[in-house]
């Protein structure tokens, strides 16, 4: 008998207690704040140790480029094919070194891991409650972008903010069709050394969020 058959047959021979249904199982609704969502969302993001700027839709591409210039990382990853990337490339400052991420893990990994100082990506949506940003990486913005460079700048549209995780999954069941879905809350961190919080364990040390109204 295969391991699979043996395991399943033992499980089928068992009976696991049925849950006792009670009222408690119902979800509590979590409406978004109706007044000044922007300010409140920015506050939530800041609590996660993200750095936040905001702008309106019209000024967005330039505001992002300005922020990138302020950071001044030598090499920056900007997708040449994503909708966001295309808008940014049009505004690329002359002396900035921008690189399209290509196939990041199939090229010179040393460069990927050590030379890229910042990556810019768009986002899919966000969760108000926890200041979380949802990303669905694809061929235009591969997942390495939000993972390997020490700084990740992500653009979030206020209109995409959902109350909390439970609602998000109800609203976007199609997320299961993507290879990889990511929820990001603040920069990479660890408290593994004597419960002392340190940022930039393995992922980005800084998370910059541009909130677009």
């Amino acid at each position: 008998m295969t391991a699979r058959a043996a395991i399943l047959s033992r499980l089928k021979a068992g009976v696991f207690r049925q849950p006792v249904a009670t009222q408690a199982a119902a979800d509590v609704p979590y409406p978004l704040p109706t007044d000044n969502l922007r300010a409140q969302f920015i506050e939530r993001l800041s609590e996660t140790h993200a750095e936040v700027r905001s702008c309106d839709a019209e000024s967005m591409p330039q505001a992002v480029v300005d922020w990138m210039t302020d950071i001044g990382a030598q090499q920056q990853w900007v997708s040449q094919t994503s909708a966001l990337g295309q808008q940014l490339w049009k505004r690329k400052p002359k002396d900035a070194v921008w690189v399209d991420p290509q196939a990041p893990m199939d090229q010179d990994r040393a460069q990927v891991f050590h030379d890229i100082g910042l990556a810019v990506t768009s986002s899919h949506s966000a969760l108000f409650e926890t200041g979380t940003i949802a990303l669905i990486p694809d061929q235009h913005e591969p997942r390495t972008m939000s993972l390997v460079p020490p700084i990740h700048l992500v653009v979030v549209h206020l209109s995409s903010v959902v109350g909390r995780f439970e609602e998000w999954i109800r609203r976007y069941p199609a997320c299961a069709e993507h290879t990889n879905v990511l929820m990001i809350t603040g920069p990479s961190k660890t408290a593994d050394i004597q419960q002392t919080l340190a940022y930039g364990a393995h992922g980005p040390k800084r998370l910059l969020v541009m909130v677009v109204e």
């Binding site: 391991a3 699979r4 043996a6 395991i7 399943l8 499980l11 068992g14 009976v15 696991f16 207690r17 849950p19 009670t22 408690a24 199982a25 979800d27 509590v28 290509q102 196939a103 990041p104 893990m105 199939d106 990994r109 040393a110 926890t130 979380t132 990486p137 694809d138 061929q139 591969p142 997942r143 390495t144 993972l147 390997v148 995780f165 439970e166 999954i169 109800r170 299961a176 290879t179 990889n180 879905v181 990511l182 929820m183 990001i184 809350t185 603040g186 920069p187 990479s188 961190k189 660890t190 408290a191 593994d192 050394i193 004597q194 419960q195 340190a198 930039g200 364990a201 393995h202 992922g203």
Partner: protein
């Protein structure tokens, strides 16, 4: 696996205790559950979700497998830890990788994967900071969430200095930066990555991973092959159940409303994608779980979502730390789980090394009645002959009020409960002071007025 001697829990409190570390985790959790009614509601919800999934486990496993296979994930089943080791070893040989980067996975600890691979000339590199530290020290995790919680900053500074050829520093940011640099080189080169899984959604075939550092993402993104390993009990019915369980998992574990990363994996990269593993494997481990599933009461321990809150709140764990348990899973959950893992020899002490204080039970986010299960273990176990006699003797006294009342002196009546055979008691305490006259005697001696001292009025 051999007919090894039983595994014991050592009566060895550490000085200083783990109190500051545990208090830190206890406080952080408490801040996330300010309202006890709210916690109770979430706890009932999570328990119901886990019980609903478990009560349909075989069908959900088949459903999950079908969904994963459709998504391109290769699913392997392992009844024993040896089968799991061999499966992963073979995947590694097929990949022609010599180094494996590992995200945090307690199930990989359960199957002694690092040891197995090393014995076959392959490297396994732990990349979670805590696991990395523990591996450098040649140890195993002492906590399921905070593997290096038994190590001080000074220990780690000395360890890094000795093994990594870096200057001694007590600056935690610097220490973390050292670990980051060290492990980046490993991520650059590794051909295979391993991770655990927090939840598998049966309807979508999703592997869900939560973590803070990003090493889990790196281990599942940078190498060409990703192997995930988990226990068969991790399946839940719907992807929509996962956020509800994460809500209690991360709050209970580290007092975070959510971890930095919640990673959902649905398969290997698609042809048009530019990164991600080209192959994804999942190893489903049994190692006694399916036998446990057949046990009417004990089966509830399969509800566990491995948050670690029970150990954080355990006064025994706080005094002895995780290594004293001598099993992969320490603390209260370890006590009720370890006796069922077929890879382990007997763990007869595990259910006994508890005061039954119930602190674990009170915080468990999926409502596992840990104290009741410990009691059940004790009731199922055969008592040593000497103890059987003591309890028979005790029962004789207490079933016969006449014997009880007339027994010579109070000491005799208290005998089964007290010192003498209880050895260590008086090493640390004065013997109890007994009353000159028992309450029963005092009541019997009272003049009978309005007050009565009989069973019947």
């Amino acid at each position: 696996m051999t007919e090894a001697t039983p595994i014991r829990i050592l009566d060895n409190p550490r000085e200083p205790s783990f109190r500051p570390a545990m208090d830190y985790l206890i406080d952080k959790r408490a801040q996330q559950f300010p309202d006890s009614d709210d916690f109770e509601r979430l706890r009932v919800q999570s328990k119901q979700l886990k019980q609903a999934a478990l009560s349909n486990l075989p069908a959900l496993l088949e459903q999950a497998e079908a969904a994963m296979v459709a998504n391109g994930i290769q699913v392997h089943w392992a009844e024993t830890i040896e089968e799991a080791q061999a499966t992963i070893h073979q995947i590694m040989l097929d990949t022609q990788a010599t180094t494996m980067v590992k995200g945090k996975s307690m199930v990989s600890e359960e199957i002694y994967l690092n040891h197995h691979l090393e014995a076959h000339g392959l490297r396994a590199v732990e990349t979670d900071m805590g696991e990395f530290i523990v591996q450098l020290a040649g140890e195993t995790p002492s906590h399921i969430i905070m593997p290096a919680i038994h190590k001080s900053k000074e220990d780690i500074a000395a360890l890094f200095q000795a093994h990594l050829d870096v200057p001694y520093t007590l600056d935690v940011d610097e220490l973390i930066a050292i670990g980051r640099e060290q492990l980046r080189t490993e991520f650059e080169q590794a051909g295979i990555g391993l991770s655990g899984v927090n939840f598998i959604a049966a309807d979508t075939g999703t592997l869900c991973l939560v973590e803070n550092e990003g090493n889990g993402r790196l281990s599942t993104t940078a190498p060409d092959v990703h192997v995930a390993i988990t226990g068969i009990e991790k399946v839940v019915a719907h992807l929509a159940d996962v956020p509800k369980l994460i809500r209690v998992l991360t709050r209970s574990a580290t007092g975070q409303p959510i971890t930095t990363y919640v990673n959902w994996i649905h398969g290997p990269r698609k042809p048009e994608e530019r990164d991600g593993p080209r192959a994804v494997h999942l190893v489903l481990l049994d190692n006694g779980r399916s036998q446990l599933y057949q046990k009417e009461r004990q089966q509830e321990s399969l509800q566990c979502i491995r948050c670690g809150a029970c150990m954080n709140h355990c006064p025994v764990y706080t005094r002895i730390g995780g290594h004293a348990y001598n099993t992969t899973y320490p603390g209260p959950i370890g006590k009720i789980l370890s006796p069922h893992l077929t890879s382990l020899p007997d763990t007869p002490d595990h259910p006994k090394a508890s005061t039954l204080c119930g602190a674990c039970h009170t915080v468990c986010p999926v409502g596992i009645p840990i104290t009741d299960l410990l009691l059940d273990h004790r009731a199922q176990a055969t008592l040593p002959r000497r103890e059987q006699w003591i309890w028979r003797f005790w029962s004789m006294f207490n079933r016969h009020p006449r014997v009880y009342r007339m027994s010579l002196g109070l000491m005799l009546r208290l005998y089964p409960l007290l010192p003498k055979w209880l050895g260590g008691w008086t090493r640390h305490r004065a013997a109890p002071a007994l009353s000159h006259q028992s309450l029963g005697q005092k009541m019997a001696a009272r003049p009978k007025k309005g007050v009565q001292s009989g069973a019947a009025s």
